[in-house]
């Protein structure tokens, strides 16, 4: 059996440690995600979804427990190693699009490749153009983010997250700021990439409609996993 893409063992996260307002936000999360899964992470506001995503995304460190990405234990890695692993193993899609305004759409898409390689090159440009066409943004490649609509920006962000075929893509309410129509589009796009390229997705969403279209739903409540259900047969296991 293939190595799980992600394995969490007893992961806890506290904020403001050592101060009077210290609070534990995640209380021992166990979670295993297999390659190719499309997992929805749901739960009310404040339940710890973003926190969990940041821990998995190696942007923050857990207070306790262990996180393994593609079989690699991460809690013992130093800052530089975490940064490197983040660049190689993870794609991010955020709620607020988070494109870099000083770069054009196509430049934003190949930014992760450029960071990895150290400089831009023709191959990564070609790949970025191809991805933008794939997400339906042909003709918009050289626009600045500010010249694109919210839905278009989010598609650029998806293309960017997929620019190097990461094993795992983390999306934090990627459709949260979009109208229903754009939200459906963006969601469908992620689903397609998942099916076509076998890329694993962990998607935080508020939208029950969209959650229903995932393979598996994990629900958080007050920092506990209260539900973990495979809702779609045929998903890889």
């Amino acid at each position: 059996m293939a190595e799980p893409v992600l394995r969490l063992d007893g992961v806890r996260k506290s904020y403001n440690v050592g101060t009077p307002v210290e609070a534990e936000v995640l209380h021992g999360i166990d979670l295993v995600i297999e390659p190719g899964e499309f997992v929805a992470l749901i739960g009310p506001s404040g339940s710890g979804k973003s926190t969990l995503l940041h821990l998995v995304g190696l942007l923050e460190r857990p207070s306790a427990g262990r996180i393994a990405l593609t079989g690699r234990e991460t809690t013992t890695l130093d800052e530089d190693a975490l940064t490197g692993l983040r660049g190689r193993a993870l794609g991010f899609i955020f709620q607020f699009h988070h494109l870099i305004p000083a770069f054009t759409a196509v430049e934003n898409v190949y930014m992760p490749l450029m960071i990895e390689r150290g400089h831009p090159d023709a191959a990564m440009r070609a790949r970025a153009m191809e991805l933008l066409a794939r997400v339906g943004l042909e003709g918009h490649e050289h626009k600045w983010p500010a010249q694109l609509s919210g839905g278009q920006q989010q598609r650029v962000a998806i293309a960017r997250a997929l620019s190097f075929d990461p094993p795992l893509v983390l999306a934090d309410e990627p459709t949260g700021n979009l109208d229903t129509h754009s939200a459906d589009d963006v969601f469908a796009l992620m689903r397609e990439f998942n099916r076509e390229r076998g890329i694993t997705f962990l998607v935080v969403t508020h939208d029950p409609r969209l959650a229903q279209r995932c393979d598996r739903v994990v629900e958080l409540l007050d920092g506990h996993v209260v539900r973990d259900e495979r809702i779609r047969p045929g998903a890889p296991s």
């Binding site: 988070h98 400089h119 960017r160």
Partner: protein, 408 residues
């Protein structure tokens, strides 16, 4: 600095995005560098031409016989009397054994030329007009290496043989003489001779033009009654500011009296030194202001770019690379500002040189940009840019990416 294009690309795009701030700070650096370049060039150039003018009619070092102290013959009964030591009454003295000492002086380290001289007071008479002058007996080939008198000849030739004489333009006017005329010289020692004027000079100093009369060593020795002797030896040195040190060294070696131009012009030099110190202070303040300007622009930029920094970090950019992005911005502000500032400073110098001129229409200073001044300004500006960027760059590098992203 050779940086991989990723860092440069991000740095340049960030600067372009904040172009209002970037332009302002570059203007700031430009003005600062222009002020430094302008002031430094102006002061250096004015000082150089001032020193040049002073040394245009003066030896770097004048060697004279050791000062003889006349000790009063009265018994030492009190401090007041003991302090009454006076120079002996005037009488021209020759340097003892100057012919042995001369080659030593000529070969002393740092000395590039030496020229013996016999000088003393005399009267120049033409018809009924008579003027008090300083008779200066020199060897023209040696003397021209001390004072470039041959460049100052305005009529006739620079030549001294037989009973030739060179006189200043003012004296020529006062006596109504010109090249080819005869001049009668008499001295207190009882000497008298008739000389032929072969050249008229203008050393750029009215008083000297009125008083100097050059003859051969031999003629002066006879007129001033120092047969075979010389009253002083002029020296030229390779580094003019070494003159005082060389004087001190040679004084203790020979026991003769050495007067360097630096001692003779001590007040002028003190004034120049103060000018240099003021310039240095102005420069320091400009550097501090420029550094604060760059630092504040970058501090603001880091705050504005928190989100972008967070995204770049999330996509695998290390702390070090984020730091480099901001250091490059500081260095670029410094570099661009210093190049523009160098150009502006150069322009100001041209304008200044055109507006302010000497009475005779020549510029009062050379408006040339010393490449060294420009290079120092550039290197300093880049270093200041890097230093000023250090704090904001560290802040950018330490930014918590999760926090930056969460509060998008």
């Amino acid at each position: 600095m050779i940086a991989p294009p990723f860092e440069w690309l991000v740095a340049l795009r960030f600067m372009r995005e904040g172009r209002a701030q970037s332009s302002l700070i570059i203007i700031g650096v430009t003005v600062g560098v222009a002020v430094i370049v302008f002031l430094t060039t102006l002061i250096n150039s004015l000082q150089a031409s001032l020193i040049d003018r002073v040394l245009g009619s003066q030896a770097h070092i004048v060697v004279r016989p050791a000062e003889e102290l006349a000790v009063p013959s009265l018994p030492r009964t009190g401090t007041a009397i003991a302090a009454r030591i006076e120079p002996r009454a005037q009488r021209l003295r020759s340097i003892d054994q100057w012919e042995q000492i001369y080659p030593l002086l000529e070969r002393a380290p740092g000395v590039v030329a030496a020229s013996p001289m016999v000088s003393g007071p005399a009267f120049a008479t033409r018809g009924s007009a008579s003027k008090s002058v300083v008779l200066m007996g020199v060897d023209p080939d040696r003397y021209r290496r001390i004072v470039k008198l041959h460049e100052d000849i305005v009529a006739g030739v620079f030549r001294l043989t037989g009973t030739d004489a060179l006189i200043g333009i003012e004296l020529a006017k006062d006596l109504g003489v010109t090249v080819g005329d005869k001049l009668r010289i008499t001295t207190a020692e009882g000497g008298a001779d008739v000389l032929t004027i072969v050249g008229v000079f203008d050393v750029g100093n009215r008083d000297l033009n009125r008083r100097w009369v050059f003859t051969t060593l031999r003629v002066s020795q006879t007129l001033l009654d120092v047969p075979g002797g010389v009253t002083s030896i002029d020296l030229a040195v390779s580094q003019i500011f070494d003159a005082e040190d060389i004087s001190a060294r040679l004084t203790s070696a020979t026991g003769l009296q050495f007067d360097s131009w630096m001692r003779t012009n001590a007040q002028l030099l003190a004034a120049l030194r103060n000018q240099t110190i003021s310039n240095r202070m102005i420069r320091s303040f400009v550097v501090i202001i420029v550094a604060l300007g760059i630092a504040s622009v970058l501090v603001v930029s880091v705050v504005q770019k928190q989100k972008e920094i967070g995204i770049l970090r999330a996509m695998g950019a290390s702390r070090r690379r984020i730091m480099v992005v901001f250091l490059l911005q500081g260095a670029t502000f410094g570099l661009v500002g210093s190049l523009l500032g160098g150009a502006l400073g150069f322009g100001l110098l041209q304008v200044f040189a055109t507006i302010y001129r000497n009475a005779d229409g020549t510029p009062i200073f050379a408006p040339n940009l010393d490449p060294q001044v420009l290079a120092v300004a550039c290197v300093t500006a880049i270093a200041v840019g890097l230093l000023a960027a250090a704090v904001p760059a560290r802040r950018a590098a330490r930014l918590d990416p999760a926090n930056a992203i969460r509060h998008g």
